[in-house]
């Protein structure tokens, strides 16, 4: 390690550095040029990016697609909200708080601890759900995680004494700024990339490529998937908490199929297996969606499309991507190091992380070799 040159070091941190720069530049351009109109869109999509990165940590590395992460986002949002709403408001709002949770009414832990606690409690539920989920793969995992989403949703809708059900939460302090969301994104990019590059991430990616081969050399498939699952539920919880403190008015219905669909579309369109895919997919689809929304509201050349065109467009892009470019716009690769650029169509330099995707049929020539970090 002592002999590592500057070039080696740069190569090691290149991907997160480039992605963080890209996100910061996007942020600066939008806040600088577009002004306050797009500030809200920007902040919300940055928070979505945290969620998409959480999803990438689990699904991208393990190849197991999860439809359940928005459930953990909901847990983070409600926990963090309940721990920060002013005590008086809480006492007036939550009249039927169950006895064993009475202490919440007199508790206010402040913003940052609340966000972290939101993530932690989401993670506790993640740990509870981990034993069944890590045993599932493929469609079954999709169904199992979807079941988690519905379980959390139904619980939140029904348990009105704690969550107010379909009614909006009242008095959630608006403490998240766009800059806070940006910081969370940068931190998550770093965590996601270095998790992917860690020994643990490598083992998980080996499982994704060929589970039997990986197990045969001693990779504990369920444990490795579980670690990624728990880490990603924590980040999803944090994303939910940040979301809660940004939009402040939300209810149990805010965290269901809509956000799940957007997050999965962003990740799959970008390219599931790379952190770059999560970032580019999220920002790319956010731009498309916002453009369609503007079109929906303002019309173009005097023609006004019917409401619904924005979501329709997103779904269409997802479907067309799955058909034409099933590994996503990045093909599941990270941003190549500047000296590694090749002309399109030439054989790319094989690196460790980029070869398969949950969204594709496997390549006909068999598994690419995994190389070390």
């Amino acid at each position: 390690m002592g002999g590592m040159s500057f070039g080696d070091l740069l190569r090691k941190v290149w991907v997160p550095l480039a992605l963080c720069t890209f996100v910061v530049v996007t942020w600066a351009l939008v806040t600088g040029l577009a002004g306050t109109v797009y500030e809200r869109t920007l902040a919300i999509n940055l928070i979505y990016l945290v969620l998409v990165l959480a999803l990438q940590i689990f699904s991208g590395n393990s190849g197991v697609l999860s439809f359940g992460h928005v459930g953990f986002m909901a847990i983070g949002a409600f926990v963090s909200a309940l721990l920060t709403i002013p005590e008086d408001t809480k006492k007036a709002t939550f009249l039927t708080m169950p006895g064993f949770l009475d202490w919440i009414l007199d508790t206010n832990v402040g913003e940052v601890p609340a966000i972290l606690l939101g993530g932690l409690i989401a993670m506790v539920f993640g740990i509870l759900f981990a034993p069944p989920i890590v045993r599932l793969r493929g469609v079954q995992a999709g169904i199992g995680t979807l079941a988690i989403l519905i379980i959390v949703y139904v619980f939140n809708i029904q348990t009105t004494s704690i969550t107010r059900g379909t009614s909006t939460m009242i008095g959630v302090p608006e403490t998240t700024s766009t800059e806070d969301a940006l910081m969370a994104v940068l931190a998550t990019i770093v965590v996601a990339y270095f998790f992917q590059q860690s020994r643990r991430g490598l083992r998980l990616r080996a499982l994704r490529e060929n589970e039997r081969a990986a197990r045969s050399v001693g990779v504990a498939s369920e444990f490795e998937r579980g670690v990624a699952w728990v880490l990603s539920t924590f980040i999803a919880g944090v994303a939910g908490a940040i979301y809660a403190h940004y939009i402040t008015a939300f209810s149990a219905t805010s965290f269901y199929f809509d956000i799940t669909f957007i997050a999965i579309a962003m990740l799959v369109v970008g390219g599931l297996t790379s952190v770059s895919g999560a970032v580019f997919g999220c920002i790319g689809l956010a731009v498309v969606q916002e453009a369609l929304r503007r079109f929906e509201v303002n019309g173009l050349f005097g023609e006004k499309p019917p409401v619904g065109i924005a979501t329709f467009g997103l779904a269409l892009i997802l479907l067309v991507t799955l058909i034409l470019r099933p590994r996503g716009i990045t093909k599941g690769r990270e941003i190549p190091f500047p000296t590694d650029w090749t002309w399109p169509g030439r054989k790319q330099r094989a690196t460790a992380s980029e070869e398969t995707s949950v969204a594709t049929a496997p390549p006909a020539h068999g598994a690419p070799a995994e190389s070390g970090t």
Partner: protein, 325 residues
């Protein structure tokens, strides 16, 4: 009020619930059967299936002024056309994709159809005119049963039997069952891939048309999200019963559908909805402990599929857990 020849009121109500439960349970059985068929033939867990029910509803809304036989035929034709279009436009280009890709794409199709419905029919739910002869009830020994319930039960049972006969006795059915068992082997012995897949979509379209008619008549109105609830029930029932087996899925769909119908009628709102929570916990448990489903009937022709279907080399996506097939 108290007529010794009639049943006590409470018992009569319970019988009414039971009849309702059976009548509508069979609708869910049809839906679960369709889902299992598509899953068997091409590994597609079709979330857009619920939208076929919704399409049926809007067709009924548009054809509300026509006589009922025309409405029935038009609805079934339109739904079948939608099912076939879905296959041609969205799923045929993804024929070789993994089941997870198909699952995600069916989500996309489902959302697209919902948004089209939002765009085409904005505003409040659209009313569906019930057929006049379905409004009445018959009185059997003090139990009042609506004509609609009787019709529903009769039609769905006939369709289930007919589907079974088609699958068991006709050349098409044999090809379908062979394809669900081993798609590539079936192709090797001369089954045409496009043929069976189109046939599977056509059958699910016909069944969805019929199920949609009966389901929407019961609600009397249609919204863009009308397909979500029946889809989830049929799908959960199918998974618990065993999506790998047509019979198991149908029975699972029937039992969960009947249970839901009975609970909806009998229980207060909050209990009913926590039931959903337990149903989905049961789904996770079934997936982990008995991935073939609880009902491993011998009529199941594709029992092993859930575990071993079309496993592409070098992919765990289609290939679930270790253990024997």
């Amino acid at each position: 009020m108290i007529d010794p020849s009639a049943l006590p009121l409470a018992a009569a109500t319970e019988i009414q619930y039971a009849v309702d439960a059976i009548g509508y349970g069979t609708v869910y059985a049809l839906m679960a059967l369709s889902l299992a068929l598509l899953f068997g033939v091409m590994g597609l867990m079709n979330f857009a299936y619920g939208e076929l029910i919704m399409v049926a509803g809007y067709t009924m809304y548009l054809s509300r002024d026509w006589s009922w036989p025309v409405m029935v035929i038009v609805t079934i034709v339109v739904v079948t056309v939608f099912a076939l279009a879905m296959e041609r436009l969205a799923f045929r280009p993804l024929r070789r994709a993994s089941p997870v890709t198909l699952l995600v794409s069916s989500f996309a199709v489902s959302i697209m159809l919902q948004q089209i419905a939002y765009m085409a029919f904005p505003g409040p739910p659209k009313g569906i005119k019930p057929f006049s002869f379905l409004r009445d009830n018959v009185d059997i020994g003090g139990v009042r049963i609506s004509h609609l319930t009787i019709l529903t039960a009769a039609v769905t049972i006939i369709l289930l039997v007919a589907t079974t006969i088609v699958l068991k006795r006709t050349m098409l059915g044999i090809q379908l069952r062979a394809s669900t068992e081993d798609f590539h082997m079936a192709q090797l012995v001369g089954v045409r891939a496009n043929g069976v897949i189109v046939a599977a979509f056509a059958i699910t379209g016909l069944l969805a048309g019929a199920a949609g008619l009966l389901y929407n008549l019961r609600f009397g109105s249609v919204t863009a999200l009308r397909g979500q609830d029946p889809l989830l029930i049929a799908f959960v029932g199918g998974v618990i019963g065993g999506l790998g087996s047509l019979g198991g899925a149908a029975l699972g769909g029937f039992m969960l559908g009947a249970l839901t119908t009975a609970l909806t009628a009998a229980l207060p709102n909050n209990v009913r909805s926590y039931t959903t929570l337990f149903a989905f916990l049961a789904v996770i448990a079934v997936l982990v402990f008995v991935p073939n489903g609880l009902i491993t009937l011998r009529v199941g022709i594709v029992r092993s599929l859930w575990r071993s279907r079309r496993r592409p080399p070098n992919s765990e996506l289609a290939a679930p857990a270790a253990g024997g097939d």
